[in-house]
Symmetry: C2
């Protein structure tokens, strides 16, 4: 489980580096598909991971902050680092006994809805990889090479 989080964090940081070479106008431009723009998609990835894992940590899940407060690469990088520092201890402390713990939620009709902790962890992993796939299409639309999505050859399994 941890390796896939580490993969996501590494890829996310590479996309933030990639953003440094793109104009603010292109980063903020509304695009077709996904959450609707490059920088907002990265913001959304950070926010969703932070919200779910905070909740698993027993905190009140935070509301999405206003994107306007993080709408530059520098501010978004700081937001990502702050969220990461808060949730990383939980991810590194993960063990298989936590798989079946229950997170109690309500659906949009106010009815009880339960998720297993292991389900939420994998949801968060898949969420980020999926949205990064969208960034890769927009990158090619800009005529730029996207960050590699390969998980192999990243040193994640070196000892």
């Amino acid at each position: 489980m941890l390796k896939l989080f580490e993969y996501n964090w590494q890829v996310r940081n590479e996309w933030l580096d990639w953003c440094e070479s793109v104009t603010e106008e292109e980063l903020l431009k509304k695009r077709t598909g996904g959450p609707g723009g490059i920088l907002y998609t990265l913001f959304h990835i950070v926010d969703v991971e932070y919200s779910w894992i905070s909740w698993l940590q027993g905190k009140v899940p935070p509301h999405e902050p206003p994107f306007e407060e993080y709408a530059t690469v520098q501010k978004l990088r700081a937001f990502s680092e702050r969220c990461h520092s808060e949730i990383a201890p939980f991810v590194y402390g993960w063990n298989s006994d936590m798989e079946r713990k229950i997170l109690e939620d309500e659906n949009s009709d106010g009815e009880a809805e339960n998720f297993k902790y292991g389900e939420v962890m994998r949801h968060v992993i898949a969420h980020e990889i999926h949205h990064i796939g969208q960034l890769s299409v927009w990158s090619r639309e800009l005529g730029k090479q996207p960050v590699t999505a390969n998980l192999i050859r990243r040193g994640l399994f070196d000892e």
Copy 2:
């Protein structure tokens, strides 16, 4: 590990269903980003999973077959089902003792390159989710709702 494969297989089948409502011309059209088209991307997902897992199973990794032989939804669905039936036993038989087994490869310069089995398994998982993210952008370009990428609420953790 298994749950993320099951997620991918479920999502892939839903995309194949989605393809039934799209014209052949749109499915085969060359697009910006990703492997270059909707049906070819799904073919590539199946082929890459099949090749890597066959290799982990100790078989000679197959070469990519000609896409032209699978360039309809019906043929691609049959290809996906055939590959799945061959690799599923390995995925269902996965256990943590297999994590650190070594797959010996050569890089493009003919130099020895090793991957851990656990690394390859996660590479295959991330590969499919990433490409599905690309399909979701192209779906919106066609004015169509994409298959949901949510991992929660799929019944994957029901007993």
